[in-house]
Assembly symmetry: C2
């Protein structure tokens, strides 16, 4: 039997990550605000806790995978939060995407109880979570990172220790810049191709072999061309991440015009009803409306 892990947040990503931990032989306690969402993981062998506090009483390592900083703070510091059952030597691994300074504050608060906080945000989306091939960027003490590596390896394939608490989130911010701005590249290339009447499949085949290729163009470009409506990474979540990027940039007086443009274009998609629930590849809709054409006939 490997160590006991607590897992809070069984959304699209969290559920698959928790299932991978079970598969790799970890004993798992789970908690999710909406209990319905815990069913599949419990059926696979996890024990369910009625509160984060209760979960913390059983687990040496506690993973949080929720949406935003207030959600992380609620499950860790709220009335039924993990902090009320905190024991020295415990480790909290927050895998959500939140601002680096929120990680640092949590880290200080828990340090007073002898509990370490590591940030370990991920990239790779739903498929990476399902296949256990997430990219994981970790901030925290090097020795704690190494101790927790077997847990992280159950969920990801490229796992890098970046630096002190908060540094994982900084790298996640850099990653989101790449993801968001590569969508601009993809949307503009698809738009020009469509408007000149060239077959989009031919285009995709030709250009994925060249210097213009990207993960975004290869995977999400294909989704657009195939009219696959299943959202990859939702726009409203990307916008939350770009808020983190642009507020860091503001603090640093760092002009990031491309990232700002991406946020504007995603906003144009959010202007449609339900637009925020679409995947980031739906940025093409902003171009369709601006350019008065429909690529997806």
């Amino acid at each position: 039997m490997k160590g006991t892990v607590g897992f809070i947040g069984l959304g699209v990503m969290g559920k698959s990550m928790a299932l991978n931990l079970l598969r790799k032989g970890f004993s798992l306690y789970v908690y999710n605000r909406t209990r319905e969402k815990a069913k599949e993981v419990v059926a696979a062998g996890a024990k369910e806790s009625a509160s984060p506090e209760g979960l913390g009483a059983h687990a040496e390592t506690i993973i949080t995978m929720v949406t935003d900083a207030p959600d992380v703070e609620e499950v860790l510091l709220g009335p039924k939060g993990v902090i009320h059952s905190a024991k020295p030597g415990q480790v909290i691994i927050d895998m959500s995407t939140i601002p680096p300074e929120a990680v640092r504050t949590l880290s200080k608060t828990f340090a007073e109880r002898g509990v370490e906080v590591m940030d370990a945000p991920v990239s790779g989306g739903r498929s990476g979570a399902v296949e256990g091939t997430l990219t994981i960027m970790v901030g925290g003490k090097k020795e704690t990172f190494e101790r927790c590596l077997p847990i992280l390896q159950a969920m990801g394939s490229r796992i890098t220790h970046i630096g002190s608490p908060g540094c994982g989130q900084v790298l996640k911010a850099c990653n989101q810049i790449l993801c968001a701005v590569n969508q601009i590249a993809m949307a503009e290339a698809l738009s020009l191709c469509h408007r000149t009447g060239i077959n989009l499949n031919t285009m995709h085949h030709a250009l994925t072999g060249g210097a213009g290729n990207s993960w975004a163009f290869e995977h999400l470009g294909k989704k657009v061309i195939e009219r696959n409506q299943k959202p990859s990474f939702k726009i409203h979540l990307m916008q939350k991440d770009l808020d983190i990027v642009l507020s860091a940039a503001k603090r640093l007086n760092l002009p990031l015009p491309g990232t700002a443009l991406a946020q504007v274009l995603f906003r144009a998609v959010q202007a449609e009803e339900g637009g925020g629930e679409l995947g980031i590849e739906a940025m093409i809709r902003a171009y369709e409306r601006m350019g008065n054409f429909t690529l997806r006939d």
Copy 2:
């Protein structure tokens, strides 16, 4: 002995492409305005012609690999141009990057002499040219494309027939959108990473494994981090290509804000002496000046 090929334009790309044709057993006639540049290819077994017209007299297939539309027109239609020795059945493959409409005009002019013109612009840069792994996007008759395939296969690995003459250039324009805008993504991610004090090598290792990766970030990002000054694809050539993209977009009333931003940022690098001779990865210099920092200490 395979067929005889004429090759006009032995610059950085053309020289390597010509050498690959020789290696694959093609008999080669070459012409370059600056004769000095023909030396290496002649030493490798090519015959040199004193003019494009002279070269055309010997070759069934003539490849042009020069900078811009006026250069292509000079070697094909000028006083000593290929047209003066044109013979029915000859094929001209222009592998330069020029506007699609320039290809269509040349195609019509040569059709009157029974000569076919195909456009076959490439992507993959210097390394693709050296290794014979270029992506080649071809516009022209399907049967002519198939007849010329062995020639193209000597220079490239992903070779796609796109459509009628000019269509290869449209796809090249789409490719250049991807290349240029992916540079914005890369420069902004590197800038934020540097300003937050995280090691750039660590960042590159972590993020090339994730959904933010691109050919640009993987290869040119590495060059920036390693302070490798050897230019990849020069900015002044990219600017010429973006002129082609943006003038097509203008004609189509297609708003391409990301591509326009890329052109502005490259212009800021060109504002430095010699900036246009730097590779496109030097876009980072625009961010360094805007943000008042130096990534390359």
